[in-house]
């Protein structure tokens, strides 16, 4: 009896300690697990892959530092994909805290490509291949305004350059010149793009969200309003896998690295739930 009671009342500090160990150990002794891409991830990849040269990929960095470990690898994988395929990229944020994260991702991926580049043509050049528009508020003004004229919403870019003077912006005027907007988000911002941007201008929307938020996005994926969905760390790892296997783009794969820790954490949670239920059923049977 006491044993089963104990099974149901494990001290939370023991749970915390075990979870900490199972998360930390895989980071110290990493093992790579290569995930197979699921249809929502593959759909987004294929759509971005087919963006014509005269259209841009817009990435909306709508997350804050708290979800950086889960979402930043997605932004990096999307940028690697676009730069590898020479797709023009415009980056913006709808929240001011996303600025630093977007800047870090752009700098990292541009450096990765430029270190491998041998000519100016091979290089990824700011203003020619990508533009960081920065942050503007309120979100409604930004999403609807970009359908009219992007340079009116972002008259200067993040670095203070006049947006209209940048070479890439000569061809990217509004949503007509945008292949898809991918909102990387830990909240409902992708739905704002669908509600306002897609309804008014017909823009395609891709979603990259935290695993917690993903369940809210599925209705829009089913209806075809969302072109694809990267869901949580696994979605990021799947996209990284596609970028590496199909394009041969190498680089640190943070989402794939974190899969080991996520795997052991999920197994631990499941084990604790099973232990709790064993105790629960044993005690219930005895009471009967």
């Amino acid at each position: 009896m006491k044993f089963f009671e104990k099974l149901m009342k494990i001290d939370r500090r023991i749970i915390y300690l075990i979870l900490a160990l199972v998360v930390i150990v895989p980071f110290l002794r990493p093992f790579m697990i290569h995930p197979k891409a699921m249809p929502p991830v593959e759909n987004l990849y294929n759509y971005i892959d087919s963006i014509p040269p005269d259209k841009a990929l817009v990435i909306s960095v709508d997350y804050t530092p708290d979800t950086e470990p889960e979402l930043q690898p997605m932004t990096i994988a999307l940028l690697r994909h676009a730069f590898a395929r020479r797709i023009k990229v415009g980056v913006l944020t709808l929240g001011v805290l996303g600025l630093g994260l977007a800047e870090n991702a752009l700098t990292q991926v541009a450096n990765e490509f430029n270190q491998r580049a041998t000519t100016r043509e091979d290089s990824i050049i700011y203003g020619r291949d990508y533009v960081f528009w920065g942050w503007q508020t309120p979100a409604l003004t930004v999403i609807l305004g970009m359908g009219e004229r992007i340079s009116r919403v972002f008259s200067v870019d993040y670095y203070g350059n006049k947006t209209e003077t940048l070479p890439m912006m000569q061809k990217i005027k509004n949503y007509n010149n945008v292949g898809i907007v991918v909102s990387v988000s830990a909240s409902a911002t992708p739905l704002w793009y669908i509600t306002y941007g897609q309804t008014s201008f017909g823009i395609k929307v891709g979603i990259a969200s935290t695993a917690v938020q993903a369940a809210d996005m599925y209705p829009y994926l089913n209806s075809g309003q969302a072109t694809g969905l990267l869901s949580g760390m696994k979605g990021g790892a799947e996209y990284e896998e596609l970028v590496q296997t199909r394009l041969g783009i190498t680089g640190r794969r943070r989402a794939t690295e974190a899969m080991a820790a996520q795997t052991s954490a999920h197994f631990t949670i499941i084990a604790f739930i099973i232990i709790g239920n064993i105790g629960f059923f044993a005690l219930r049977r005895r009471k009967k």
Binding site: I10, R12, I15, Y16, L19, A20, V23, I33, H34, P35, K36, M38, P39, P40, T64, P65, D66, T67, E68, P69, G100, L101, E103, N104, Q136, T137, P138, L140, T141, L144, G145, V153, Y158, S200, A214, A215, D216, Y218, P219, L221, N222, G232, M233, K234, A237, M259, Q262, T263, A265, H266, F267, T268, I269, I270, F272, I273, I275, G276, N277, F280
Partner: protein
């Protein structure tokens, strides 16, 4: 007057906000575009002033009255002032009028405290740490709350197991169909429930918005209605 003016503003702007979605005429669309690009931005800019003013006043009062944990208010206020100064005058990456990069003589060591360096090295790890605590609380809560007490709880437990296991590539590679079953759970039952909720919320929001626009619901006036 105190009631009528806010009610009138809400009515006018509530109706103006809805019209452009219903009438695609160029004049209406241009007027809406102008309103969004200029007027709305000016209004939002005031919220920054209001926000900064409010945080300063709140923490100043807390320190003055020595309320619980008042010492931490100093941290908030000092951080606010320092980051504002560095952000405004230091430039994004040590390229502003305020020097935020020092090279130590006789060494190659550079000390930087520009806003991007501060953000990357303080905000990002602090934010990630706070969010990662959720994993501990979720594990403890799942262990205590997930009991197969009845049929509904068992279905919930089973679904959670499938979705959690499918999020593990190792399991998905051994049991490939599990991933597709997890996708089915999210795509069919989850979507059905979310759509039902969505319709309910949308209809409720529309009804509440109409009540506010038409001045039937006046709770937002803060007691003066």
């Amino acid at each position: 007057m105190k009631r009528r003016i806010p009610l009138l503003i809400v009515f006018v702007f509530g109706v103006l906000g809805a019209i452009p979605f219903l009438i695609p005429h160029r004049i209406i669309q241009d007027a809406d575009n102008e309103f969004r690009s200029s007027v709305l931005r000016i209004i939002v800019a005031f919220s920054l002033v209001l926000g900064v003013g409010s945080i300063i006043r709140h923490h100043y009062e807390k320190i003055r009255r020595k309320r619980e944990n008042w010492q931490y208010s100093y941290v908030t206020l000092i951080s606010l002032v320092i980051s504002a100064i560095i952000g405004l005058f230091g430039g994004i990456e040590a390229n502003g009028i305020l020097p935020t990069r020092f090279v130590f003589p006789f060494t190659n060591y550079t000390f930087r405290f520009d806003i991007q360096t501060l953000y990357t090295n303080i905000m990002v790890p602090l934010g990630a740490t706070m969010f990662s605590l959720l994993a501990f609380f979720m594990t403890s809560a799942a262990y205590r709350a997930f009991r197969a007490r009845n049929i509904e709880a068992t279905i919930l437990l089973f679904s959670a197991f499938v979705v959690m296991l499918a999020a593990v590539p190792l399991v998905s590679s051994i049991f490939p169909k599990l991933s597709f079953f997890s996708e089915w759970i999210l795509t069919v039952p989850n979507t059905a429930a979310k759509r039902g909720l969505g319709f309910g919320i949308a209809l409720g929001s529309m009804a509440t918005s109409l009540k506010i626009i038409l001045g039937i619901e006046r709770g937002w006036l803060g007691g003066t209605g």
